[in-house]
Amino acid sequence: MTRRSFKRALGIFWWVTLLFLYAPLLVVMFYSFNSINSSARWGGFSLRWYRQLAGNEVIIAAIGNTLVLAIVSSLIAVAIGALTGYGLYRHRARRLGLLIALVYLPIVMPDIVFGIADMTFFVGINRLTGLLSPGLATMVIAHVTFQIPFVALLVYSRLVGLDATLFDAAKDLYASPAQRALHFLLPTLRPALLSAFFLSFTLSVDDFVISFFTAGPESATLPIYIWGAIRRGVSPEINAIATLMIAAVALVAVISLALGRHRGRA
């Protein structure tokens, strides 16, 4: 086989794989505009499932919960995680193995163990103190826990990529510790903090398992609603919500990419 035909074969395989990767998403989007209740037959274009969505208060509430959860948890995670990332960078010369392992833990922990551990913990705390009954608060806590490492990692890698003498230069040019944070560190980290926020947001919206186990009766998010709807029996309404979520994620991705490109130029 010549090199060229080898590459051509790989190229065909690439397009087939792309089809494999996008087919399930395209199918969902496609049938969300189907006028009949079927995921096997096409009955003509219609927006009826979207209209049905708009009238469904449970779904509206779920969208609200999803957004509140994602935004609140991302904000907290960015604040705490950025501090962690900075601390790990500042003291990287020290032996911080255990600390780093701790920060990595949420990433490597299997979702289901993570969710169940938090659930049992919150139930226990609730029984002892009456605090932390399952709901948005417990979900925010759990989400922040898995968002922190990603934020810390982003901030850390941004700092490591920086010329270390910039810190010296700021000191040398009469910046006090507070001024260094305000006029050097924050502006330098701004792109990283922005991507950290978007990443946290996406992670939060994408999560199902951990949300599922830490949610309360009133705090169902969209993924939890979809899960329930699927288990009750497939309704084309789900296609419509799922399409909206895919669009939202794509939008966030485009925004953060555009930000990244802008950063590349600036």
């Binding site: 700021a170 040398d172 040019l173 009469y174 001024q179 006029h183 502006p187 701004r190």
Partner: protein
Amino acid sequence: MPDTATDVAAARQQGDTARRASSIGLKGIRKEYPGGVVALESVDLQIGAGEFFTLLGPSGCGKTTLLRILAGLDEPSAGSLTIGGVAVTETPPHKRSVNTVFQSYALFPHLSVRDNIAFGLKMRGVAGAERDTRVKRIADFIQLGELVERRVDQLSGGQRQRIALARALVCEPDVLLLDEPLSALDAGLRRKLQVELLRTQQRLGMTFVFVTHDQEEAMVMSDRIAVLNDGVIQQIGTPQQVYERPVNLFVARFMGHDNIFAVSARHERRITTPIGELTGERPCHGAHVLIRPETIELSAPESEGVEPGKPLNRLFCRVEERFYRGNNVEYRLALEEGGTGATLIAEISNCGERLFRVGDRVRAEIYPEDVVALGDEGSTS
């Protein structure tokens, strides 16, 4: 605090050279890192106001550590430091009237060139209008032209270097520290900026402490040079002193490694070396002697001596190799008699006279005062 109302340009116009300059005093400065690595061993040093002072040495000799201690970026483990007669050993860097031009330039990527230059003034609380005038003045002074309007990532290495210099100078520090500021540039640009930097210093009369590992650069620029090795100052002196009268083997080798010979026997001013018996100016105590290649004079063996009356070391040699360099010619000479196979290197400036050819017999003449006795490695003045 220096008088902030005075600006660099005004100082130049008034020819007021001593105003901004401060002397520096280091006493028993020692730096030891945790784990026992000693970067500096008890350094004593006086740098005069308005001096262009260079710390010269190979990488890892402690010169950058010393500079960082001056800047306040590192704390000494022991010893004291004064700038302008004021003790500043414990003063944090942002409270010292000292600025640094970093090797990597360390320009803030999130700021424009203008904001980079204005950064120090802003941190010191200089008001916006005055900041602008001072930035403009320094930009004129360093002839930055339209560079001020550019973004940092649009600058070339030489331009970055000048912005970094402007950013440090605009603060009008008592002392300017320069950490190998030219080492990232190519040779041609480097020579141009050496001259520029030197002129800037001369016009401002500011105290410059310059760190480099390039002995040629150090000699071109400095009023005085301190040669460092292994955290110890080997020699302090003018470029001429350090080059022509190195005190020990390390300094001699670092400043140019040709023609260093071990002394195998000595009697008063007579010494025995691998190139034969030589007469020095004074009784020699060191274990080595140095003969700088350009102090050697060559002539045809049958011609008249240079100054027949003077005591002169005369060695008869044969030209083994010749390297023509345009402005000078290097000959590698093998001793005809009295030597033990050692090679003597002579560098003759090219005045258009007839060159010797490989295989020619020549007579090398060395003045006794050009036979420099060297102390042992590590021994200092």
